[in-house]
């Protein structure tokens, strides 16, 4: 596709192109499909072996945990939620970036999302799988996990729909299902691309089965685009609702430090913050390992860093507001949690780690040279991942460890089983993620083609006059002349 007029609309508004300028349609197909068609680089195998080993260790640890019971963890009274719910909220939070990028940025016409939305959606699905594991095992007797589902049972009792924990079951499982549907719908045209490039019968059958016989029909694209738009429109309130409902688990209970109305927006901002950090961590590695610099450009990284800065500052504001409300309420338990427990109590180390990682580290992104600096971006993304884990740990541990009666005060010490389950969840996540980047198109091929300047049907005679239906019959010759020039 060398025949592209250099006078392209994207230049008119001084925008940096969303893919390297050398890309034509076929180049995008090649670069993305190549990842699934050539043998995996050694780096992939190293990471995959580590991930699968951790996954195996997770399996063994869980087997031991189910055999012994959850006394194998360091959980105690008062800190009964400990690492499990911390990990649950952390993983669910990470899972928010995918849908945010897919849905919210889609509705805002942020076309730069096309290079990262596929991987971010995959990350969402795998992160939610990891998240769902934690409440699942935290119930202790896993064979009774059907209790929260509205199923007829021998006790003749139904779930209590006034409980936020039950809302959580519906919110997170709906979120998982809708994210999976959204991801699959986006994949269909790209699976068809892989099908049509297949050299072996097995590949053709495997990709073809899931491509559902997609043939790029415009009569299909019309309904497809409408479906995509509707999914984006319903996923936007969904993604905001999910972490709000997660925050209700805390906010509706009368525990100092939890019982606040700021929790839903604060949790949602934190979720987006941690999700973008994880997307950056993963994409910075993926673009190097699979040489996708032309599609995941510095421009994308800079834009994501701006979102990290914005959401990080919102989170910082929320931390400050918690202190203000604790002081302003005059409630001595609230004041104790914030001004004593968090600032200088036994968990002060966790609190200040959180502040440094979440509030201070992203501030470096006020400078453009830092936003476009890859090592700095990677370092900050890791800081934010750590900081957001600490945030959830701080919320859970500092509020619980000083109960209303000093006789039930406590401190949480993780056991090796706690540590192994947490590390194992990384094995689960990365096994899925690595298989995804190896076998599925890691970048949305059809969508990126759609944002290329050459995809504009008016591109060939841009600058002449605007294309119109009435004079279209003369136009082709005109456009051709320009194209060949």
């Amino acid at each position: 596709m060398s025949a592209v007029n250099p006078n392209l609309p994207i230049k008119d508004i001084n925008e940096v192109p969303l893919a390297a300028e050398s890309y034509d349609f076929h180049g995008i197909t090649e670069d993305v499909a190549r990842v699934t068609e050539t043998p995996a680089p050694r780096g992939w195998w190293v990471m995959f072996l580590i991930a699968v080993s951790l996954l195996g260790a997770l399996g063994l640890t869980l087997a031991y945990l189910f055999w012994k019971g959850i006394g194998a963890w360091g959980n105690n009274q008062p800190i009964s939620w400990a690492w499990d719910i911390t990990n649950f909220v952390w993983w669910v939070g990470i899972g928010h970036a995918g849908t945010l990028i897919s849905a919210v940025l889609f509705l805002f016409r942020q076309k730069w999302r096309t290079s990262i939305n596929r991987a971010a959606e995959a990350m969402t699905i795998f992160a939610v799988i990891c998240a769902l594991m934690f409440p699942g095992i935290h119930v202790g007797r896993v064979w009774l996990m059907y209790y929260p589902f509205p199923l007829p049972n021998s006790m003749g009792i139904w779930p209590n729909f006034k409980s936020p924990l039950l809302w959580d079951v519906f919110a997170v499982s709906t979120y998982f299902t809708v994210s999976l549907l959204f991801w699959f719908v986006g994949l269909i045209p790209d699976l068809a691309t892989l099908r049509d490039r297949s050299k072996t019968k097995i590949r053709r059958m495997a990709y073809g089965a899931f491509a559902l016989g997609w043939r790029g029909s415009n009569r299909h694209w019309q309904n497809y685009e409408r479906a995509y738009m509707i999914l984006a429109a319903i996923s936007t309130p969904l993604v905001l609702s999910v972490h709000s409902v997660v925050s209700f688990d805390f906010a509706t209970s009368v525990i100092p430090g939890w019982h606040t109305t700021i929790f839903p927006p604060y949790f949602v901002a934190g979720a987006i913050f941690s999700g973008f950090a994880m997307v950056l961590t993963l994409m910075l590695v993926v673009r190097v390992v699979f040489k996708l610099h032309g599609l995941i450009t510095l421009k994308h990284i800079e834009l994501m860093n701006k979102i990290i800065l914005a959401t990080g500052s919102i989170v910082g504001y929320a931390y400050a507001m918690e202190f203000f409300v604790a002081w302003y309420s005059g409630n001595e338990y609230e004041r104790y949690v914030f001004f004593v427990s968090r600032m200088k109590g036994p968990y002060a180390w966790a609190y200040w780690s959180m502040i440094i990682c979440n509030v201070l580290s992203p501030q470096i992104f006020w400078k453009k040279s830092m936003r476009t600096n890859i090592p700095v971006t990677f370092a900050v993304s890791i800081f934010v991942n750590i900081g957001m884990w600490f945030e959830r740990f701080v919320i859970i541990a500092t509020s619980l460890h000083r109960d209303f009666l000093p006789s039930s005060w406590g401190y949480f010490h993780p056991t090796p089983i706690d540590v192994m389950v947490y590390l194992g969840s990384f094995g689960l996540f990365f096994t899925f993620f690595l298989l995804f980047i190896r076998w599925l198109p890691v970048i949305a091929i059809a969508e990126v083609k759609g944002v290329l300047p050459a995809a504009d049907p008016h591109a060939e005679h841009y600058g002449h006059d605007s294309h119109d239906d009435h004079d279209s019959h003369e136009k082709p010759a005109d456009g051709e002349a320009t194209a060949e020039a």
């Binding site: 596709m1 025949a3 034509d24 349609f25 076929h26 197909t29 509205p150 003749g156 009792i157 139904w158 729909f161 006034k162 409980s163 936020p164 809302w167 519906f170 919110a171 709906t174 299902t177 809708v178 549907l181 959204f182 068809a192 099908r195 049509d196 490039r197 089965a209 559902l212 016989g213 043939r215 790029g216 415009n218 009569r219 299909h220 694209w221 019309q222 309904n223 497809y224 479906a227 509707i230 999914l231 319903i234 996923s235 309130p237 969904l238 609702s241 969508e447 083609k449 759609g450 050459a454 995809a455 049907p457 008016h458 591109a459 060939e460 279209s472 019959h473 082709p476 456009g479 194209a483």
Partner: protein
Amino acid sequence: MASHDHDNEHKASGEKRPVLLLAEFDTPSKIMHAAEKVRDAGFTRWDVHTPFPVHGMDKAMGLSDSKLGWIVAVMAATGFTSAFAMIYYMNVVDYPLIVGGKPPLALPSIAPVAFELTILFSAFGAVFGMFGLNKLPRHHHPVFVSERFERATDDKFFVSIEVDDPKYDEKKTRELLEGAHATHVEVLEEEVV
């Protein structure tokens, strides 16, 4: 394929008959103009195949708006109603639960689950409604006979016109497409069953 009175060659099985005229184009601009010509010539049983949705193609093909929104609206209403009915039956009729001093039917506490099920049903409506309207999955289609069509998901653009279209005439239709700067035009055949 439906009726095909005009061709007189359906005899024993194993024989082939033409089903589609497939024309290949190089750029979004050319396929757009070609679609406009086909539309203006009055064809009804035809389609455009592109590797990505080309902006403005629905108008160029003269398609009416997608009906999907209606399916989703019905599913959304179903989702909300199901959630309300489920909670009402379980927590009010069958086993009234009084928790936290709230009445069995406390509307605010119904909101999260009702909202989630509304979204869930809408999403199913959007995805499976789209499959239904598009008649997917459909793994066998005459266009797949063409080897060149493999690039319809890569970088080429196609117009396919069914031989059964009342306006179809092999020579004239071919000229129409070639006049619209098609780089290649071929007739695709299917075995007569």
